[in-house]
Amino acid sequence: MTPEEILQGLYDETLKGNGPRVLELTHQALALDMTPGSLLFDALIPALEEVGARFERGDYFVPEMLIAGRAMAGSMEILRPLLADTGVETIGKFVMGTVKGDVHDIGKNLVNIMLEGAGFEVIDLGVQVAPEKFVAAIEEHEPDIVGFSAFLTTTMPMFKANLNALEKAGLRDKVIVMVGGAPVTQEYADVVGADGYAADASATVKRAKALLKERRSKVPA
């Protein structure tokens, strides 16, 4: 296959969510000495942008989004170390969890699916995540963004508790903080001092990308 055909193939198969085939093509591409950056920017990311657009239009369903994201994640497993070597910026790393005392995770799972679908590397801490666990995860994974999800008015105060824990650990400035969940509003997010809020999964992706861009334009990479 020519490099063009491989890029086209990667794009098509990612769109379809055909994980095994995407892996195969990734290996073939690297065997042909194609650069990880070209795979990422000329095939994978365009494919996922198309996935996002189709979802927004109502053509793609959540499960399709999910397998497309998984297909890309498989390829990224291989590309990420190589990209790090070449110093190419990936889309971003996102640590996500439902706050302590709360077990609602459908909304969070959807957000994760969409974030992965948009090319983010997502580390999901699950539900009932205590402030210490968020701190530990941020120290371990050094994400660009951390997301707190809460679905109960009685657990929304955990946002503040998490932020305080980040302050104490000296991490508050190292990471963008996003909050969300059904009862959360922009006002509430502002009051607790989060950096971003979004009302649904596709809005989260847009907002996350915007916040990252802003951050990166300020902080040199």
């Binding site: 959540v62 499960p63 999910l66 077990v103 799972n109 959807l110 699916i113 539900v127 649904d200 809005a203």
Partner: protein, 479 residues
Amino acid sequence: MFQNVMPRYEILSQDALATLDAAWRRLVSEIGVEFVSDRAIEMFRAAGQKVEDHTVFLDPEFVLEQVAKAPREFDVQARNPERSVHIGGDSMVFGAVYGPPFVRQGDVRRDGTMEDYRNFLKLAQSFDVLDSAGGVVNEPNDTPLDSRHLDMTYALQTLTDKIYMGNVVSGVNAADTIAMGAILFGGRDKIEETPCSISLINCNSPLRWDDRMLDALFEYAAAGQPVVLTPFILMGAMSPVTIPAALVQQIAEALSGIALAQLIRPGCPVIFGSFLSNIDMQSGSPTFGTPESGIGLLCTGQIARHFGLPFRTGGGLTSSQLPDAQAGYEALMTLMPTFLAGTNWVMHTAGWLDGGLVASYEKFVVDCQITEMLQHEFKPLEIDEGSIAFDAHQEVGHGGHFLGAMHTMERFRTCFYRPFLSSSDNYEKWMRGGALDAAARAGKIATAKIEAYEPPPIDEAIRLELEEYVVRRRAELGD
């Protein structure tokens, strides 16, 4: 055409049925039924029934003998064979609202026009849940009165390829409708063999069949076109205030009309009709979507099955002036029992507002949405290894999610019904979309459907022949 293979919800005990049975027999034999038609009276007299003036005192056994001649189930053909329907058994066939003089679109309520009429026909053609546009979806008040039936029938035959209802304003109109049917289907023998229209013959309750209605009945029955013999009962005004009394009266009226249809043409397809609601005893206004009408509807289905006849009842009825919450719950308050009873022919499915005085564009869409939901709800569950999905649990485990499970991947596009009108957008998304309520969204859908409408193809020669018939008859009728 929808097949309802779910169980019927029946609330009358055998004892109750027996009591109702005894009571209608007493009504037809002791009070009798009035037929304001000398032809009808002569027929009953010739058949050996006791007649006084215009009242016929019927022998119940005679009535049942006549009723036994009516087919249990029959077909009605549409010019598009895929749209032909079967009336009776598990089939449910749906037609739009019938008769409103007024039309509502958004905030405006006005006299209905021919333009509206054609629009509603386009909507009826566009929604698959409807098997028919019905007949008078709204009264086209801007067309000449004497030839209006020609314009409506022509529109029904050309703008839709579904079955349609016959005009019943007079015997003459009925004859015209039949003649136009014969043109469309290639000869009167063709439509006598498989009928092409259904006509609504209302009883002037209590216990009186009116001359105009009977004139139309004579025409249609003679041509073997199905007739819906409908006791039209608003309890408190046209029947006693108790539901059992209304049910008894309904049996007496419907069966007496059916008996006449069978005298005119033995074996003529008929439908046991029912339109049963009540008035508000305080103000006298007709009310719809009431608990009483729901109960009556369920009983009607059971009674019609008892006599082995297909039946008509139900629809998206409401007293509301607007397509608001009341219109939503009242329409469903009638449509849900319509399904529970397994109604074979459903008139007024879509568009009804203001007690039937108004045809509403928005309500039309709301009702199609409700009906489509019900058609999905009344599907039998398939219970097998695949649908039990043990493997999905093995894959997902405790507290996980099924969004990406294999079982989901195989089914996600079709597993749930997806409504076209109901919105499940979250608040922010809904606000971004303009914060439209259901009525506003329905209005947009109606407009879009009418714009996207494509006329179903028709043989040009036949269309011309129909047009010539309309022109010639209009001249003869002096309009």
